[in-house]
Symmetry: C2
Subunit: 461 residues, 2 copies
């Protein structure tokens, strides 16, 4: 009798961790066009040397999508969506270790992109590698779809999906990410918020001026601030007319999930060093706002002199980067149109809007086979049921790649509540990384069995 | 018969220009502690080698004040106030030549600090140098007071003046700066606005967060924006209760000066590339707002990600640098107190205020001998009368060094309407530099004669 899959994974722990460390050394910041070619080379090497399967780099109008279809004689297919790009590392001075040198400390590994989402990507490749050590023929077809532009809004993923509907077809998709709650319970999430990302800007005179001129020369910084504070009130309600019109309210079933969903308020507050949440919300209201309500957030704002000491200047340019997290029903293009109309109506015709990206929200129904399989896998592996989240507060191009084409998608992964995604000292726990490898290997086997036992007849490879 | 003073100045043109070029090569940015020691060495060298008079560097709690008292056998004294520090050069990418390499082009010299105010400082030293070539004994005592912290709010000049009342005493002071209007007419100004410079900041969680958290975690960027937009309305009226209470309204005589004061609206608009002034003001209302009304200006604001592309982050820190230009009657400490009270009353107790500097406004009466002497000198030299400004919209520590001790002060200098003080491509016209040398030399002779003819009896050297 051969080795168990977990024995094989255990024997390869150091190898898999090394893959992760090496991948995190690649500064694949798509926003700044850094390390993207190097990422391709790294993935090519991994597939050639270890997975021993073909990987294609499918061109788009932006960075290519890494695609691999590992064939089996099963009629069924599971697909995995991940991305090989990461967020910029700023503010770099707040990192305790170099962002692009994975650093292990106290059971965690710190690196930019390790939680979002190189840890997941590598764990899933490792699961397939381990399964192939056990049996060269996988129980079902496996597709890996790794895009390179998730952190810049997946601007060409929709185009990719439309041009390659054959390649994206599957019976179920595992989405990029997943986290453990404060109590260690794994989250399984069934959807994502959408997003509209814009840059607003204002211009003044043709040069910065001595600030004595502020008495008579219009300030673009003030213009921008007045425009921004017209967008929402101090109770976090967006004031753009029509903004909430198309929101699909959660169903009773979703509210039921929400009430079961664990969110440890005290632990979160303590971890983040805050005394209360927005509007002093607690309980179900807090969870509802977090998961089911849209946002209007300032990701960045800048104007004038921001260095040491004092400089007395009237700056001639000001800009702000905003993301609106959208919920099912809201369309990013319509929100953009409403934003423009609102600014115009408030007298801010001079404020320019640059659309950076738009993504639709998405949700999968909990009775889908892939969802059932993930829940079973996690419950057995963890010896406790997962924390099921109807949708996460985060965003991903799930709709463009899955729901739009009838493919159910579910998300779980290697992160934890303090993984610091998009922030300094991003990290994962080493044990969570190994656990995800085991669970993905189990899921691949389980999903095929469930589809077969249900008698699903589908050929989509 | 000896040479005329203007012949001597003409023979030394290249030397004086070289002093200026060399001084501008010193990046004396006090805000960033750059080039300050080098500035001292440069001034020491200039006094030792060319002026051949003693210069002292008088210690303060900050950068030292360069002080020289060139004695004569006259009972009368004229003093000159200048500063050897300059503004930071940011945004450096908008400069057409290196900010610390003086670059001559089309009759202008471009360099950081050349208009504000190394050009004036050097021109005045050159005038004394030229007078001494003509006669080793100056017609009256001359005092040079060059501070090193003007651009960071003259934070120790008041302390210096209090500790050295003997050194600052004079019968009349010539202040640091001066400009030519669009039509070439020289401005003579009799006062300055005061200033309160503060940094406001807001803090959020103990780390930057993924912006998906914006649904429930308070955003310091939004907090700061709401606090800032509570400070003034869109018509540029400051909303801090009590802000305007102590403003001393201009007298009829001052309004009369103002109505004569030339401000070429069309030329200014064209030069700055703007279509209108604040509130679409014109004529006397525009000039009144510019010279006699206080301001609330954003010098800089920053939060979160401001690089290329899009980063979805909820930043945990936001700050803004503000300057309030104050008019006679307003006290910077009281305005600071009112600002704190206003923020507290508006529910912004969490917004921190850091005071960077506070300066009182100042005005000199036009019948003072030093003012009369400057007007006569300028009228003869220019063959037209100057544009007399009751006070400039800019700020300087004039009150702390002059009016507080009964010393009248008047300002004229080498700049012009497009000198771009505090902004990229700061410049002066070469011919204006030489003209100021001639005028200062003439003023020194004329001021002594006027005091003597008036029979002023004073011994203050």
């Amino acid at each position: 009798m051969g080795k168990s899959i977990n024995e094989i994974i255990n024997e390869n722990r150091d190898l898999y961790k090394q893959w992760l460390i090496d991948f995190c050394a690649v500064p694949s910041v798509a926003a700044q066009n850094r390390g993207m070619e190097e990422s391709k080379k790294f993935l090519q090497h991994l597939f050639d040397t270890y997975i021993k399967e073909e990987v294609e780099f499918i061109e788009t109008s932006g960075y290519p999508v890494a695609y691999s279809h590992i064939k089996s004689d099963s009629p069924y297919t599971i697909s995995f969506y991940n991305h090989y790009d990461v967020q910029p590392e700023d503010p770099i001075e707040l990192w305790n270790s170099p962002p692009f040198e994975a650093t292990e400390k106290d059971g965690k590994i710190y690196a930019r992109g390790i939680a979002d989402n190189k840890g997941n990507l590598i764990a899933r490749l490792a699961a397939v590698h381990a399964l192939k050590q056990q049996n060269p023929y996988l129980p079902l077809n496996v597709k890996f779809i790794f895009e390179g532009e998730e952190e810049i809004g997946s601007i060409h993923l929709s185009e990719f999906a439309e041009n390659h509907t054959d390649k994206i077809q599957s019976d179920g998709n595992v989405w990029e990410f997943g986290y453990r709650d404060v109590d260690g319970r794994l989250q399984v999430s069934l959807g994502v918020k959408g997003m509209l990302y814009v840059e607003l800007s204002a211009e003044g005179a043709n040069t910065d001026l001595h600030s004595a001129n502020a008495s008579i020369i219009e300030s673009p910084a003030w213009r921008l601030l007045f425009a921004l504070t017209s967008l929402k009130d101090q109770n976090d309600k967006v004031l753009i007319p029509g903004f909430y019109d198309d929101v699909i309210e959660p169903t009773d079933e979703e509210i039921e999930f929400l009430s079961q969903y664990l969110f440890d308020e005290e632990a979160n507050k303590e971890h983040l060093g805050i005394s209360q949440f927005v509007n002093n919300l607690t309980g179900l209201s807090l969870k509802k706002k977090h998961l089911f309500e849209p946002t209007c957030n300032i990701c960045g704002i800048n104007s004038g002199y921001t260095g040491e000491g004092s400089k007395t200047v009237l700056p001639n340019h000001a800009f702000a980067k905003l993301d609106f997290r959208l919920v099912p029903g809201q369309d990013s293009e319509r929100i953009l149109k409403l934003l423009r109309e609102h600014l115009d109506n408030q007298g801010f015709q001079d404020i320019k809007i640059k659309e950076m990206s738009g993504v639709q929200a998405a949700r999968t129904h909990p009775t889908e086979t892939i969802v059932e399989a993930v829940i079973e896998t996690v419950t057995e592996s963890e010896e406790m049921s997962p924390n099921i989240v109807p949708n996460t507060p985060g965003t991903g191009p799930m709709y463009d790649l899955c729901q739009r084409f009838g493919i159910p998608s579910v998300s779980f992964g290697v992160g934890h509540y303090a993984s610091n995604n998009h922030a300094p000292n991003e990290n994962i726990r080493v044990q969570d990384f190994y656990k995800h490898i085991e669970q993905v290997a189990d899921l691949i086997v389980r999903f095929e069995k469930k589809l077969a036992s249900k008698g699903v007849v589908k050929s989509c490879n």
